[in-house]
């Protein structure tokens, strides 16, 4: 080799040795029982689903700040490592790999159903605790030993919608996005609705990122349904569908799933959404002092909250974790047992616990109506 | 009578990927004359025309227009009154004959003049008259060459550069082509520089000529003298030392 080449190789070797030696001396990044408690977050921080991904992460930040300000958990601060799952299984898997194998976290909060379903095969074998304030796919019921969620399953939502709609109508059309969440909800709805004697006259599905629904809606119009159920993953798709339904001169009543209550969906749909009925997680009760305080603090820091239930559930997740860790430490097997046995947790979203499948027990979906551009609970 | 010098190439050197395509080339074109450029394949004849028209970067040497040094750029040469008819019947195949001629007069702003010139050019090449609206891609080889030639005349050029005008044409048409070249030179006083393989026909109408071999000029003389010398035989059989 020439002199220069030798020099370059020598420098590279020296650098590698120094870096390797430093890491060895410094030890693993988070020493066991001291230093911050690291929690991973996987949710849509970019992409269309950011409309709920971002507010939820804000709610988590709010909770973490509060916990840390009052001294942390057993003197240790909580530190969240945020990863962008883009509400897609593929990206969530990458994020989980990083969190579990590189950052070595033992607790993850994950948002979308698609994200959660795809990371469980990685987290379960590693005994990583996963909490979700948002994932609602029925496929997640009992999907993991270490999986808990404080968001109702769509198995309920789909059924509630079917029951609600079948009281008045017999022929319906449904348009759904092709994601795990929306497809699962669609399956549950169709099954329930048909078992109640109803007929699904049109069942259209669209790929994510679609912006022109007109020909699908034209097909639906042709079948003359009595109502149309709009079942999107993202608020943007949902709002656009409502707009285009009206533009095509379709005047039948509209029903929606949870995403339709989001502020972006309603902004895009505009006045076209008036009167739409949907099934949603209940709003945060004004009689619940924790909820009131939470909403105030959120509004002060981040502005008007949207999809309050998810925000509240995420906020609760941090405090549930804080409570559990302070009682049994950070060993995830012990945490899992604690959560299984926990009863009557008083959170922002109400009083609840986790059932034997890790699902939320004690809070159910309610019916809401869009009035004056807002989702209002209907008795 | 002292002829006005129109164009000069002084000591021109051109490189194509490491090879000297032209080396120390001196060429002159005066008003009213027909100059022949001859030599075997790869001698550099076409390159000289391309140099004049700014289609090839010059490594060394100068190009002089009316004895002033210039940097040749194609559309500027056109405006100066130089027209170039490249090798190979290059017409705009998707344009009609009429459109080809119109584009030939691109630098002429006045539409009336363009139409006048089209009339004039069709007199020189009457075969094209019947097919004005036909796309030039469907013409015969001979007709395309005529069209390329005619297109070159649309700017009423003072200098015409022709690169192998008889290439691939039937002998009868070749005779016509050379007759037209002579006609244009005599009637319109156009100076013409012609690169040709068909040396016999060319030297019949040319006034002067240059013989090239391997990028260098090996003979510069009147057409008559070149015909009578043996330089061409030597160059084409590679016997030149």
């Amino acid at each position: 080799m020439s002199q220069t080449t030798k020099l370059i190789v020598g420098v590279i070797i020296a650098v590698v040795v120094v870096v390797a030696g430093y890491s060895v001396i410094k030890g693993p990044s988070a020493p066991e029982e001291t230093g911050p408690i690291q929690i991973g977050f996987i949710g849509p921080l970019t992409g269309d689903a950011v409309t709920y991904g971002e507010p939820v992460s804000n709610a988590i930040k709010l909770a973490v700040d509060e916990v840390n300000k009052s001294g942390g958990v057993n003197g240790r601060m909580i530190e969240v490592i945020y990863e962008d799952g883009k509400c897609s299984g593929k990206d969530a898997v990458n994020a989980a790999q990083k969190l579990v194998n590189v950052d070595k976290v033992k607790i993850i909060i994950s948002l979308c159903s698609g994200e959660t379903l795809s990371i469980l095969p990685i987290t379960e074998p590693a005994d990583v605790l996963v909490l979700s304030p948002l994932a609602s796919s029925p496929d997640l019921t009992g999907a993991g030993d270490f999986f808990f969620r404080n968001n109702p399953s769509d198995a309920d939502g789909g059924k509630v919608l079917a029951e609600l709609i079948s009281k008045k109508y017999k022929r319906v059309a449904i348009i759904s996005e092709q994601t795990d969440y929306a497809q699962a909800l669609s399956r549950v709805f169709v099954k329930s609705f048909e078992s109640l004697g109803g007929e699904v006259v049109a069942n259209e599905n669209f790929a994510p990122e679609t912006s022109d629904f007109r020909s699908m809606l034209t097909k639906i119009k042709e079948e003359n349904p009595e109502i149309i159920l709009i079942n999107p993953q993202t608020e943007i798709a949902g709002g656009t569908i409502v707009k285009q339904i009206k533009e095509l001169g379709i005047t039948v009543p509209l029903y929606g799933t949870i995403a339709m209550a989001g502020s972006k969906a309603l902004e895009i749909a505009g006045t076209n959404a008036e009167g739409m009925l949907l099934v949603d997680a209940p709003g945060l009760s004004p009689n619940n002092p924790k909820a009131v305080k939470f909403l105030e603090n959120y509004k002060a820091k981040y502005g008007e909250p949207t999809l309050e239930f998810y925000l509240g559930a995420a906020y609760d997740d941090i405090f549930i974790l804080a409570q559990s860790i302070s009682k049994v430490g950070t060993d995830t097997e012990k945490l899992r047992d604690y959560l299984n046995e926990m009863i009557n947790y008083n959170g922002v979203i109400g009083t609840y616990e986790f059932d034997k499948n890790g699902d939320l027990a004690g809070i159910e979906y309610v019916v809401k109506k869009i009035q004056d551009g807002k989702a209002v609970e209907v008795k | 009578m002292q002829k006005e010098i129109l164009l000069q190439l002084k000591d021109i050197g051109i490189r194509y990927g490491g090879v000297k395509a032209l080396d120390g080339v001196d060429i002159e074109l005066d008003e009213n004359e027909i100059v022949a450029l001859m030599g075997p394949n790869g001698a550099g004849k076409s390159t000289i025309l391309k140099v004049i028209f700014g289609l090839v970067p010059i490594h060394s040497g100068k190009v002089l227009w009316h004895e002033k040094a210039i940097s040749p750029i194609s559309y500027e040469m056109v405006k100066r009154g130089v027209a170039f008819v490249p090798q190979g019947r290059r017409v705009f195949t998707n344009l009609t004959i009429r459109e080809n001629l119109e584009i030939g007069g691109f630098v002429v702003k006045d539409k009336k003049i363009i139409n006048q010139r089209i009339e004039r050019v069709l007199e020189i090449f009457p075969d094209l008259k019947k097919k004005l609206k036909v796309k030039s891609g469907s013409l015969s080889g001979g007709q395309q060459q005529m069209l390329a030639f005619a297109r070159g005349l649309m700017t009423d050029p003072k200098i015409l550069l022709l690169d192998e005008p008889s290439l691939g044409l039937a002998p009868k048409i070749v005779k016509e082509v050379f007759a037209k070249i002579k006609e244009i030179n005599e009637r319109h006083k156009t100076a013409i520089m012609v690169v040709e393989h068909n040396i016999k026909s060319l030297l019949e109408i040319a006034h002067r000529g240059y013989v090239l071999d391997k990028g260098k000029i090996v003979k510069k003389d009147s057409a008559q003298n070149i015909v009578q010398s043996d330089i061409l035989e030597k160059v084409f059989t590679g016997k030149l030392k």
């Binding site: 269309d48 990122e209 007109r214 020909s215 943007i236 656009t240 533009e247 902004e267 895009i268 | 998707n94």
Partner: protein
């Protein structure tokens, strides 16, 4: 019977948008013989300019639209002057130009995302009540009518330009043979610059119209570009009329395709059309 008029209308509207993108793309390809991928982001530039000037700053809508189109044109022109022309001068291969255009596309799209966030935005102020017209048993909105009229106007205008002006004929000449065009006295670099400007202005308009119809997103250029490219190839690459034909064919195939097949296959159908043409008639509908 009832569904067919609506499907036809939907197809025509989609075809109109695609043809606006295809026209600019074909024009540029014809003159330069390379796939300018950055063409797609011109649409986003148009859409976002209107968003910024009309919605954020509150300026007059027509002014914002004009600025949007102008800005798209200038940036397209600028790309040619700063990146493509120097590369062409150095005899860069089409592969190199393609990669350069991809780089420009990515960079510009990223800048838009940084300035405006990646979020979907709407630019129409009037939410809810839009004028709706009934035509032959189908329904279209006011925005869609404007799309149709704009597309027809631009196509007609361009056709006239190409056929009757010297400038238009120079463009045809350059598309036919760039070297001979130079020989004939055309300043090809200058004309190509203008072609980039015109093509990009039209793409900008397409982005603005799509913005009014559905909304804008920094990545909107990509799907528009893909449809424009498919339309151009199917119709006969380099030929502007072919691009228009291909665009409408694409619009019809997409919308009628999902009539009998489920909606999620829409994009697959578009690409299926492309593949069919590439296999059986690669030169496109109008053979060049």
């Amino acid at each position: 019977m009832g569904i067919i008029p609506q499907l036809i209308l939907n197809s025509i509207i989609a075809g109109a948008i695609y043809s606006l993108v295809a026209i600019g793309f074909s024009l540029i390809y014809g003159a330069t013989k390379f796939f300018n991928l950055a063409h797609g982001v011109m649409a986003a530039i148009g859409g976002y300019s209107v968003f910024y000037f009309a919605k954020t700053l509150g300026w007059d809508l027509w002014l914002a639209v004009s600025i949007g189109m102008l800005l798209a044109g200038l940036i397209g022109y600028g790309l040619d002057k700063i990146i493509y022309k120097p590369l062409r001068k150095r005899k860069a291969s089409n592969m190199v130009l393609l990669v350069a255009s991809l780089g420009a596309f990515t960079a510009l799209q990223a800048i838009i995302a940084i300035l405006f966030t990646s979020q979907f935005q709407t630019i129409s102020g009037n939410i809810g009540a839009q004028n709706i017209y009934e035509i032959f048993g189908g329904v279209i909105t006011q925005t869609q009518l404007i799309i149709l009229i704009s597309a027809i106007t631009i196509m007609a205008g361009l056709a006239l330009l190409l056929k009757y002006t010297m400038f238009g004929k120079a463009i045809k000449a350059i598309s036919d043979d760039e070297e001979v065009s130079k020989i004939v006295g055309i300043n090809t670099d200058k004309i190509i610059g203008y072609v980039f400007f015109i093509g990009s202005v039209i793409a900008g308009l397409a982005g603005i119209l799509v913005g009014f119809d559905t909304g804008i997103k920094p990545t909107m250029g990509l799907s528009l570009l893909l449809k424009g490219v498919i339309a151009s190839i199917v119709g006969g690459i380099g030929n502007i009329y072919g691009g228009v034909l291909g665009a409408f064919l694409l619009g019809f195939v997409e919308n009628f395709g999902i009539w009998k097949i489920s909606g999620e296959w829409k994009d697959a159908i578009a690409f299926g059309l492309l593949i069919v043409f590439l296999i059986f008639r690669p030169r496109g509908i109008i053979n060049n």
